[in-house]
């Protein structure tokens, strides 16, 4: 592993194209807190509402625990790679996919999906504001999406210290608020007996729920290195990731499900309003949404820098923010159309994200270690292949397999789309890499030399 020398300038910010220097490393608890901040989103509670429509409370816990255990293992393995190499996702992908392949991988993992999720979150922001303050022109879904998107874009662009501080302070209480909301819902809706007695008309098969839970955060697993690279120990990110997913994700899903069951509202914001927790609590929920979308913008801009190598993070924030806000306000707000086509496209891209992680795991733990006898190194002058052929084939095949299994019922090893995608791409990468290496002596084509900027 190479560290950037003092002469190497971090011109893009946040070590977007460099490894993290030793003086920037942080404790395991610190890494854990950052993961917790990322998880503190209203969307996680909304996801629990989805489970409530499929299962009774006991099965919800079982499904959430199984799905989250798998997320902990998958994400933990990838986080360890980030902790060992000090590199972010987009740098790591230069090995299993090649330099140009990493650009394609970045496009699939973050650059495109995050624009879509920014638009969707902005649209949800508009809906939330409309629910809380209905009947005013400025709080229509279109108007609220527009000014909300612009505010999110501006706070991300300028990095307003006050907003950053407020969102930072909000995170621990946000978790407390969820616990309070849960007990409040239990309190006003007939107690725990009412909760445990609730069950939907039809209980879905366990596999459906496990896929749902795994699919919620499988993409998040692939980018765990972005945080884990700061961990003081190699395993800091893995431990922090595992603990936060296994414990807190399970709690969030269950409380979201419980609040939906008890209040009858699939919208957690409406549920909090129904319980009577006050406008302040609702505003905090909005703030959680706001800061998550800030992160979407920042992460997307990080990916675009690694793809294009031009413009800085702030310029990308504006470009992505304008596109996302336009989708939310015009498509979703003015024309009142569902964002389902965008969500469908984001979901389709989502099938290809876990295979990227599977290919990275296969390359780092097996192919690089035992077949190619190479270590992941980064820094000016480092040579990468332009395209890692088995890597590209594996993510395409894995993604299509997952899509086929879920959409067309294609019969694959587990019958669970996301797992099948991971298994197919993992095994295919191993097989293709061994065959190609034995026949040609290498698995990559072309050569790319890293520039002093890390690009």
């Amino acid at each position: 592993m190479s560290q950037p020398s003092k002469e190497v300038r971090d011109i893009y910010g946040d070590y977007a194209t460099l490894t993290v220097p030793p003086e920037e490393l942080r404790s395991t608890l610190n890494v854990f807190m950052v993961y917790m901040g990322v998880l503190a989103v209203v969307a996680a509670i909304f996801a629990g509402s989805g489970l409530a429509q499929m299962y009774d409370p006991a099965t919800t816990i079982k499904v959430a625990l199984i799905g989250n255990t798998m997320l902990a293992v998958f994400g933990g393995l990838i986080a360890y790679i980030g902790g060992s190499t000090r590199a972010n996702t987009y740098l790591l992908l230069r090995y299993p996919l090649g330099r140009i392949g990493a650009m394609i991988g970045s496009l699939v993992v973050s650059a495109l999906p995050l624009i879509i999720w920014f638009a969707v979150e902005t649209w949800l922001f508009g809906i939330t504001v409309n629910v809380i303050y209905p009947g005013h022109p400025l709080t229509s879904i279109a108007a609220a999406s527009a000014w909300g998107g612009i505010l999110m874009m501006l706070t991300a662009y300028y990095g307003f210290r006050a907003i950053a501080l407020l969102s930072y302070i909000t995170v621990p209480f946000w978790y407390a608020l969820i616990v309070i909301g849960f007990f409040g819902a239990v309190d006003i809706s007939g107690g725990f007996s009412a909760l445990w007695a609730a069950r939907p008309e039809h209980i879905a098969p366990l596999g459906v729920g496990i896929t749902y839970v795994f699919g919620l955060y499988a993409s998040g697993c692939v980018i765990t290195s972005d945080v884990a690279r700061y961990g003081v120990k190699r395993w800091s990110g893995s431990i922090a990731w595992g603990a936060h997913v296994l414990i807190f994700m399970t709690v969030l899903l269950f409380t979201g499900a419980a609040m939906t069951i008890l209040t009858g509202s699939p919208n957690v914001i409406v549920a909090i309003a129904k319980i009577g927790l006050g406008v302040g609590a609702l505003l905090l929920a909005i703030l959680g949404q706001w800061t998550t979308n800030d992160n979407n913008l920042w992460s997307a801009s990080l990916a675009w820098i690694n793809i294009v190598g031009k413009l800085n993070k702030r310029q990308w924030v504006i470009i992505i923010g304008v596109i996302g806000t336009a989708i939310a306000a015009i498509w979703g707000g003015v024309y009142g159309m569902s964002l389902d086509p965008f969500i469908a496209f984001g979901t389709f891209l989502g099938y290809f994200i876990p295979p990227v992680g599977a290919t990275l795991i296969a390359d780092y733990y097996i192919i690089s270690r035992y077949l190619l006898k190479r270590q992941y190194r980064f820094g000016p002058g480092t040579k990468y292949g332009v395209i890692n052929v088995p890597g590209i084939i594996s993510i395409i095949a894995g993604g299509l397999a997952g899509w086929g299994a879920t959409t067309f019922g294609l019969r694959l090893p587990t019958g669970v789309g996301t797992f099948d995608a991971i298994i197919v791409s993992f095994l295919l990468y191993l097989v293709l890499a061994v065959i190609m290496y034995k026949t040609t002596g290498k698995i990559e084509v072309g050569e790319w030399v890293e520039k002093p900027t890390g690009f």
Binding site: L29, Y168, I169, V171, P172, A176, L283
Partner: protein, 136 residues
């Protein structure tokens, strides 16, 4: 230990103790809230503040390092949680659901503001003096 590190360590310890005292005050007010919902709210938020402060105070106190960051980081983690719970009192003390008697609700609201403002000041000061980013 240098004068600079000692000064920051003292400030960090004092800040955690202030939060601990305010947390104990909110716990003490719990029985006077007048409704079981307000009682549980005060016990929950107050306990988080007290437990976090009690856990972190010896951690900060026993640090003998010359590295100012090693003192500032745990102190900021403790203050982060306490300040956040202070914010919690600000937004929930007067909420209708909890049915807290008005005088006690006002006191909790004020204590919450004190925690929020002092915690914010302490976090910013530690962050600035120790050159540690806020997201610790």
């Amino acid at each position: 230990m240098s004068v600079e590190v000692t000064r920051i360590k003292k400030f960090a310890e004092m800040s955690i103790v202030i939060m601990l005292i305010l947390g104990i005050i909110t716990l003490a007010l719990a029985p006077a809230t007048g409704h079981y919902r307000g009682f549980y709210l005060s016990v929950f938020l107050g306990s988080v503040i007290v437990v976090v402060s009690i856990v972190y105070l010896p951690i900060v106190h026993m640090k003998k390092s010359e590295n100012i960051k090693e003192v500032a980081v745990p102190a900021m983690q403790s203050l982060w949680v306490s300040t956040s719970m202070g914010l919690g009192y600000v937004v929930t003390a007067l909420a209708p659901y909890f049915q807290i008697t008005f005088p006690i609700a006002v006191i909790l609201f004020i204590v919450g503001w004190i925690m929020l403002l002092y915690g914010t000041y302490a976090l910013l000061r530690l962050s600035k003096e120790a050159k540690v980013p806020l997201a610790v």
